[in-house]
């Protein structure tokens, strides 16, 4: 008996080593989002390429990968990151620089990859994955007879008393504060960033948030993970919360009584990078090519309401509606890029945040620590 168990142990050990040697490790934000990536393009790509793709959760930022690199033991191959982090990570030499037309396949009609992407990449290391939104939602059962409709309503504690769920960092919070304070975003939010480039604009945004958090009729609960906003809303801990539209959508599909407000939404892109000198760089490049293909990106939209980064993927979805996995929900109107949702929006500016992120972060933390 002892011998057999020893043998089993040895076999499982060998197996775990060999399987991890073949596998590509992809790192993303967890929950419904990672699920959409795994089911939408991860598993199909793995099946096609013949090696497993393992999904690992993290909460963003470059600290883990930097630590892995410093320790000389990199275990991640592909990471899903914010635009700002692709810029900083590319600078630090953490990620592989892409040759877009060579490293990624063309659209079905032959359009080269670089022309098929929605927007130019923020850095050479980034490949666009999805377009998502920072919008806000409320609980339809608890809000009362009046419903919030605009970004101003999010800050209106007189009409809608109760606490608000807010992202833990300054990112996008300063933008919505200014949008609610009366600055018209302009084309892609240009007016907002123009204001944020001045000390006065930043102070104005900070004060707006501070006023909301210190308002006895308001108050703030800070969230960090994408699963938290729907949870805060359903439990009634907050009356409204900012969040990521896909997470709200999935909660709605699971039966949560939520409604999303798109006015003043922040459109943002999410990117994938390949780690330079990762454990399995060659396979990782193959995997990312497969995953970021037209079909791959369209596949992930079957599971979550984020818009794929390739224009050609949208055609597939349009033809395949109702595209959502339940077979009855149309996906295109749920996407942040849909016409009805983009009446008043801003594009999150990665260059602005790469430039000013640390200083704004300090001011933001100081503001938070001083909250009464």
């Amino acid at each position: 008996m002892k011998k057999i168990s020893k043998l089993l142990l040895a076999i499982s050990f060998v197996l775990s080593i060999t399987s991890s040697a073949f596998a590509v490790t992809a790192v993303s934000w967890g929950g419904a989002y990672t699920n959409s990536q795994k089911l939408g393009y991860g598993d199909p790509a793995a099946k096609k390429l013949g090696f497993p793709i393992n999904w690992v959760d993290y909460s963003g930022g470059l600290s883990e990968i930097t630590a892995q690199k410093e320790a000389g033991a990199i275990t991640w191959d592909i990471i899903d990151v914010y635009a700002m982090d692709t810029i900083n990570g590319c600078d630090e030499g953490l990620f592989v620089e892409f040759d877009f037309d060579k490293d990624f396949g063309p659209a079905p009609d032959g359009t080269p990859a670089s022309k098929d992407f929605f927007a130019p990449m923020p850095s050479k290391c980034a490949v666009g994955n999805i377009l998502y939104s920072w919008n806000y939602a409320y609980n339809t059962d608890k809000i009362g007879s009046k419903k919030p409709k605009t970004i101003k309503d999010f800050f209106n504690t007189k009409k809608f008393p109760g606490k608000r769920g807010i992202y833990k960092g300054a990112l996008t919070n300063l933008e919505i504060a200014l949008a609610a304070d009366g600055i018209k975003p302009g084309k892609g939010g240009a007016n907002i960033y123009k204001a944020l480039n001045t000390e006065k604009g930043v102070a104005r945004a900070m004060n707006k948030i501070k006023a909301l958090c210190e308002d006895p009729k308001g108050g703030c609960v800070f969230w960090s993970g994408g699963a938290k906003p729907p949870e805060l809303l359903v439990s009634g801990e907050v009356v409204m919360s900012t969040g990521w539209n896909g997470r709200f959508f999935n909660a709605q599909m699971d039966g949560a009584p939520l409604a999303q407000v798109w006015d003043g939404q922040g459109l943002d892109y999410q990117y994938m990078v390949v780690v330079k000198g990762g454990p399995n760089e060659a396979d990782a490049m193959k995997a990312i090519k497969e995953m970021m293909s037209t079909e791959g990106l369209a596949g992930s939209a079957k599971h979550i309401a984020y818009a794929p980064f390739r224009i050609s993927s949208l055609d597939i979805i349009a033809k395949g509606e109702p595209w959502y996995k339940d077979g009855k929900t149309n996906m295109l109107p749920q996407m942040p890029s849909a016409k009805v949702n983009t009446k008043n929006y801003f594009l999150v500016d990665p260059l602005y945040w790469a430039d000013n992120g640390t200083e704004l972060g300090e001011k933001w933390e100081a503001m938070k620590a001083g909250l009464k």
């Binding site: 470059l62 102070a203 009634g236 503001m367």
Partner: protein, 417 residues
């Protein structure tokens, strides 16, 4: 003593002293070998990381090596007005070398940390410098972006010149070296760390106090009631101690949140109205409650083990000599437990000062401590040298408390059992 006392010899003619020393040496080596693994373990996992932290927090060599010519040219510049042409030219040539080696990104990141706004202008410079003409570098660089014509950016570069700097330590107490080299406070809306240090000490102090107030009666009860009940009670103390920290913190969240169990109960018995539920979570109250409960066993256990050794006859003797119950307690029993109080308080206080996960989860904005800010700089801003500096300050602070305690009470008086 008589100096020419004959040396005592062993049976084989070697002086006894020598032979004893020899035997002892073997024993010493054996003893050392026995502790060697632990020593090695401590050096690898404890001493060397602290050493690494220390060097990291003051080391600024990377940028000194990246811009050698610039810093040399800057030596003569007084920092009042825009630097001369020479500085611009040397900066450009340093930058060119870095671009060839493809390490300019690290410079960008480092300078952007020193002063925000470098990120985009350096990238713009990289694109534009290809079409630069010979000579008159200053004009051409200043045309790239208006920030290059702003003297504060050049001062920021100059500030990074020394290979070692204590800037991170200054930053941790909301100070900064200004243009004239004198240390001043940072602007009002960026002051945060002094506030956090004070809050950390305040929370640690009150958590220790609450633990003491709650733990003392429990420990007394445990030590005095009959064995068969005290065992049961002991399990009640230890069971939460064995439960995962995260589970306990999460349960407090369920109990204390606005729509939580406790608030529901208050509403049910009519203590508060439904739309006016008190906030007991995501603020300092949540931090106090959760941390006190989690750290309570660290107070109870040392107290209990000390109280267990106090003979009940002492209290009886005090009473028989005419003392009231209070006098007996205060004059006889309490002083005897002082060593346990010292041990428990020191343990709880030191653990509380560095507490991270509980305040992170239940503290909200007003209940987060310095450790959360250390984590923030480790994870978000990647300013590891700053995180190291704060970590070291925390360590030195704890050592100072230990030292003061030793001076006031004496560390030998601590009793864990």
């Amino acid at each position: 003593m008589n100096t020419d006392t004959k040396q005592i010899l062993t049976s084989d003619g070697i002086p006894l002293e020598k032979s004893l020393k020899k035997a002892e040496r073997v024993n010493k080596i054996k003893a050392f070998l026995l502790v060697a693994p632990l020593l090695l373990f401590l050096i690898i996992t404890y001493i060397s990381p602290i050493g690494d932290m220390l060097t990291r927090s003051v080391d600024d060599k990377m940028i000194t090596n990246m811009l050698p010519k610039t810093f040399k040219a800057m030596e003569k510049w007084d920092g009042q007005e825009l630097p001369p042409e020479e500085v611009f030219a040397s900066f450009l040539s340093d930058y060119k070398i870095l671009i060839e080696a493809q390490t300019q990104g690290k410079l960008t990141q480092r300078l952007n940390k020193e002063k925000n706004g470098f990120n985009s202008i350096l990238k713009k410079l990289k694109r534009k410098m290809k079409s630069f003409e010979e000579g008159n570098t200053k004009e051409q660089i200043m045309l790239v972006h208006k920030r290059f014509a702003d003297v504060s950016y050049w001062r920021a570069i100059k500030r990074t010149a020394p290979p070692y700097s204590i800037a991170k330590y200054l930053k941790a107490v909301d100070m900064i070296t200004d243009e004239n080299g004198s240390v001043v406070k940072v602007e009002e809306n960026r002051r945060i760390y002094v506030k956090l240090w004070i809050r950390t000490l305040e929370v640690a102090f009150f958590v220790t106090l609450f633990c003491f107030l709650m733990g003392y009666p429990i420990a007394h009860l445990l030590a005095t009631i009959p064995m068969k009940y005290s065992n049961l009670l002991m399990i009640c103390v230890l069971l939460p101690f064995w439960t995962s920290l995260l589970v306990r913190t999460a349960s407090w969240m369920i109990i204390l949140q606005q729509q939580g169990v406790l608030n529901d109960f208050f509403v049910l018995i009519g203590l508060v109205s439904d739309d006016n539920r008190p906030e007991m979570m995501y603020n300092k109250i949540g931090t106090y409650v959760a941390m006190s409960q989690i750290l309570l066993p660290f107070m109870v256990l040392p107290l209990y083990s000390v109280m267990k050794t106090i003979s009940p006859s002492l209290v009886r003797a005090g009473k028989s000599l005419g003392g009231t119950p209070f006098t007996t307690f205060w004059k006889v029993y309490f002083p005897l437990t002082a060593s346990g109080i010292g041990a428990g308080s020191l343990l709880v206080f030191i653990l509380a000062v560095g507490y991270y996960i509980t305040p992170e989860l239940v503290g909200g904005a007003s209940g987060t401590l310095i450790s959360n800010n250390i984590a923030y700089h480790m994870k978000q801003t990647l300013d590891w040298s700053f995180a190291s500096a704060m970590g070291l300050m925390l360590l030195v602070g704890v050592m100072a408390i230990y030292w003061i305690y030793n001076k006031l009470v004496g560390i030998d008086n601590i009793k864990l059992g």
